[in-house]
Symmetry: C2
Subunit: 555 residues, 2 copies
């Protein structure tokens, strides 16, 4: 009875940068066949998610419809696109498709969760395609900051979609395929109904610069260095790792890779044939015997991550190697908003050692992997889509790209996580709002963002924690005094007496006066003792702590 | 017996940006007469100081020597220079000197702590001076981002010092005195032994730009706006507040000040004669009746502070005024590293409302208040000091300015908090290391940074908190089972059973097997139950929580 429709539903990545997960559907309303594009994660921070290990999109909506899910396609191997693939593989139960390099990384992740190698199928690039129910999906090579990034051409009976994935326009990306204007035009020929488009760099007003612009600058920097040179970038930016290594080699340095991710990514690149050439590297053992002025280390930790090589070098030794006065450290990277404090702290630690630190101050040593505003405009001109749906951005990025699109006379909509968009007509239309959210990996368990667990942690961090224990006998008479323990609170306050004693005294007085009905009722005792603890603390130390009251009754 | 010496000792602000506090001394070794320049604070963050309200330098060293302290001089009214003056006034017991505007702000702070108006003495600028023991101190007007900023000329029998304070070279600062090259040269004539110099912008390679460059850009932006315009900047940047207000006025808008700090700063500027003219402002009540396209609000909250006007507007209404689609919001400010998340979150909330947000992307709408590298070089050339001691910077800033100084043939040293520098000779010499640190204002009490209180909060935030209570009778027999309460932890883990039950079961088993000697000993019970709680939690949920064990003995 119902007509077929073509839908787009972001479950992650739309209205934020991170944890990309985009659903497409085609078929009768509420019974569409579905595919998922990307299944990424994002990283926690102390402000909002203390103690959390990783953050995933909530995949409940899709898991409930797993019988309709045909396949999962991964555009590229960045953590915000592939990082959650192992955590949801069994929940979604659908085959995973990716190009060779991405598949290599995805397989490592799945095998960590005990899944077999063949859970990921390697796909060759366009014009090869995968049939998945009513969808025919091809991987269209595109330049980005990791090998084998791909846009997806998604052909459906309801029209052809072009999902850009993360991309930039780079005609000399050094590793992987160049941006191929002719190919885009060729694909555009048969008409693109909707382009779902990366928006993250929409506020960058100049055209993006090519990876190939960096080698000379970096070589000159290294040639000017008198002692050891250390450089960091995202390990997955294999082109940059090679740019750095080749610049080092040209400057006469032996190259050593440090940090697990750095070695793993170069390994994956070689295994999958992505890296046809790479300077000869020396082992860490060999590096220790090479004169410092002949050595260059490529290390992990461009974002100041505490456990990565750069942070460890900043704190002292890493793998037996130590930074010394006169060494040079290069951040060939951009600091992601929120990571500034960690990166700056490393810079200052190096400064204390007498190490000269260089960063991306003027764009000499780093280029972005995303399309800037003029590139986004060009991409639309090449693809000539009927409509453009911005993705991979915060709300302000989505909105800005949407405005640019509409100014150019194309239809658009700002679609954030949970907004199901009907693409069937001539313009995008909001069809439905789906409940979405975040899941936290916390230690080894997954918890919901709204479970209150993290909220309680934040409260303890802000307010401290008072634990009150009280023992009551069978006649509802308190046995002795209530007992207080403080965690994360000052020992003394206004009165100069120990806070614990002031709290215990005020509670004892209350219990002495309390009516029989109160002492019979654990909830009432708890409520009153909590109230007293907070009021007394406010008076003594000027803040209201979290309070846990434990009433034990002796039978 | 001992010869006189001239010393410099930073207690805050050297090796960090914030909480400036610099001691100078002249006299016999260990018996110098002392003055303090600035007494500022810095702000906490969730990563390192959750729940803390303000951070101060530890003034213990100086308080112990208060009989030798002649006076406190405040260079300008920024919180990182004046913010702690009320908190340490009685501890230090020395008179406070400042120019009129700064004194006005300092008095407000002191009166909040119950100190009298006359605790601050207003000083006129150079050539007027204050005699303070062996020191003769003059306030030398200098351009910065707050009115009446001053360098200090500190004349001593051991030589003349020039403490730049925060400064920039601006010949048209719009409010307050222009940078006066002739005056600097004049002061330099009699010889400057040491210049203690702002270093925070040393990595900015271009000469600083003038406040006067902004008005036209801002006016053009406002003229292009079709609905309400709202702009934020630091309230204390009175020149900017006026630049914004005047641009708004030229664009035909009524100006309304929102946020307590914004109104207070303009008030203080008018009271002290700093602001000779300011566009007529309308009250908030009047603003509500003005058509949006004729209105411009100047609001607090340029750093995304949760309780300031901009954040409240982003969340909904503030003082009955609401942002709407088509409004324009301007950040005429730089985001201080660490505040990015808060600012970006506000930008996205505005984006969701359809508000167009502009920021300092290209320097159109903001200039820094600090001297850039070429300006710092020029300052040295004007002042021709024998030595330069960098201050007001992280280690990397101090080190870089020190390198520039030495490259120009002058003596220098990187002096961080606690390094006492002897300036008596021809080059700075490290005389001693003083124990310094930070004090936290936490609610209404001060706690030490190393007291462990904040560390415990961070641990609870990262790991959650398990509270275990156990009652033991007079025969050392546990009465019933141990009781567990969780705070900030998942309810279930690997086994699927409630975590509380698994924990209680494991502890009960241990107690059943425990030897009499263990059950006699509260410390041993605590230690063992804590170990079990952590081990079981690690097994169940993959993380080791903080554990508080409370053993109650019934006598």
């Amino acid at each position: 009875m119902s007509t077929e429709r073509l839908i787009y539903l972001p479950l992650g990545g739309a209205g934020e940068i991170g944890m990309n997960a985009y659903v497409y559907g085609y078929g009768p309303e509420d019974n569409e066949r579905l595919i998922l594009v990307d299944l990424g994660m994002t990283f926690p921070d102390m402000d909002t998610t203390p103690g959390v290990d990783l953050i995933f999109p909530d995949m409940a909506w899709l898991a409930e419809r797993k019988d309709r899910l045909e396949a999962v396609f991964i555009t590229h191997a960045h953590e915000d696109h592939v990082g959650a693939v192992g955590h949801f593989y069994s929940e979604l139960g659908a085959p995973v498709y990716a190009r060779a390099f991405t598949a290599n990384i995805a397989r490592r992740k799945l095998s960590e969760h005990g899944f077999a190698e063949d859970s990921v199928t390697t796909v060759s690039p366009y014009p090869e395609s995968v049939e998945a129910g009513p969808f025919k999906v091809s991987f269209v090579p595109v330049s980005h900051s990791i090998p084998e990034s791909s846009s997806l051409l998604i052909e459906t009976p309801g029209g052809r979609l072009f999902h850009t994935g993360d991309f930039k326009i780079d005609h000399q990306p050094l590793v992987g395929e160049s941006f191929d204007e002719a190919l885009w035009k060729d694909i555009a020929k048969d008409g693109i109904k909707a382009m779902i488009c990366d928006s993250t760099n929409v506020f960058s007003k100049n055209p993006g610069r090519s990876e190939s612009e960096l080698g000379g600058n970096i070589e000159a920097l290294i040639k000017g260095a008198e002692r050891m040179v250390v450089a960091t970038t995202f390990a997955s930016n294999v082109a940059r790792v090679r740019t750095l290594a080749e610049a080092g080699e040209r400057a006469g340095r032996s190259i050593c890779l440090m940090g697990r991710a750095m070695r793993r990514m170069v390994e994956a690149s070689v295994e999958t044939g992505v890296l046809s050439s790479f300077p000869k590297v020396v082992s860490i053992e060999e590096a220790r015997d090479i004169p410092r002025e002949n050595l260059m280390l490529l290390v992990t930790g461009s974002q100041g991550e505490r456990r990565a090589a750069s942070a460890q070098l900043a704190r002292g030794k890493f793998n037996g190697i130590e930074m010394k006065e006169g060494d040079l450290f290069l951040f060939s990277s951009k600091t992601i908003p929120g990571n500034e404090r960690g990166v700056i702290s490393i810079m200052n630690q190096f400064s204390e050692m007498g190490v000269d630190v260089f960063d991306d101050n003027d764009g000499f040593y780093h280029v972005s992997g995303h399309a800037n505003r003029p590139d986004l405009e060009k991409a639309q001109e090449l693809m000539e889509p009927q409509m453009v749906i911005p993705m991979h951005g915060e709300h302000r990025h989505l909105r800005e790209l949407s405005k640019i699109t509409e100014a150019a006379g194309r239809a658009s909509v700002v679609a954030v996580n949970g907004m199901m968009i009907d693409l069937s007509g001539n313009a995008p239309r909001v069809a439905e709002y789906i409940e979405t959210g975040r899941r936290y990996l916390d230690g080894s368990t997954q918890v919901g963002a709204l479970d209150g667990i993290v909220r309680d942690r934040i409260r303890m961090a802000l307010n401290g924690h008072v634990v009150v224990t009280l023992i009551v006998d069978e006649d509802d008479t308190p046995l002795g005094e209530p007992w207080c323990e403080l965690m994360g609170l000052p020992e003394t306050g206004r009165s100069g007496a120990p806070l614990v004693e002031v709290l215990e005294e005020d509670m004892s007085q209350f219990l002495g006066r309390a009516k029989a009905a109160t002492l019979k009722d654990d909830d009432k005792i708890e409520q009153e003792l909590r109230k007293i603890a907070r009021r007394t603390a406010l008076d003594e130390i000027g803040k209201k702590p979290e309070v846990t009251v434990i009433v034990s009754r002796i039978a």
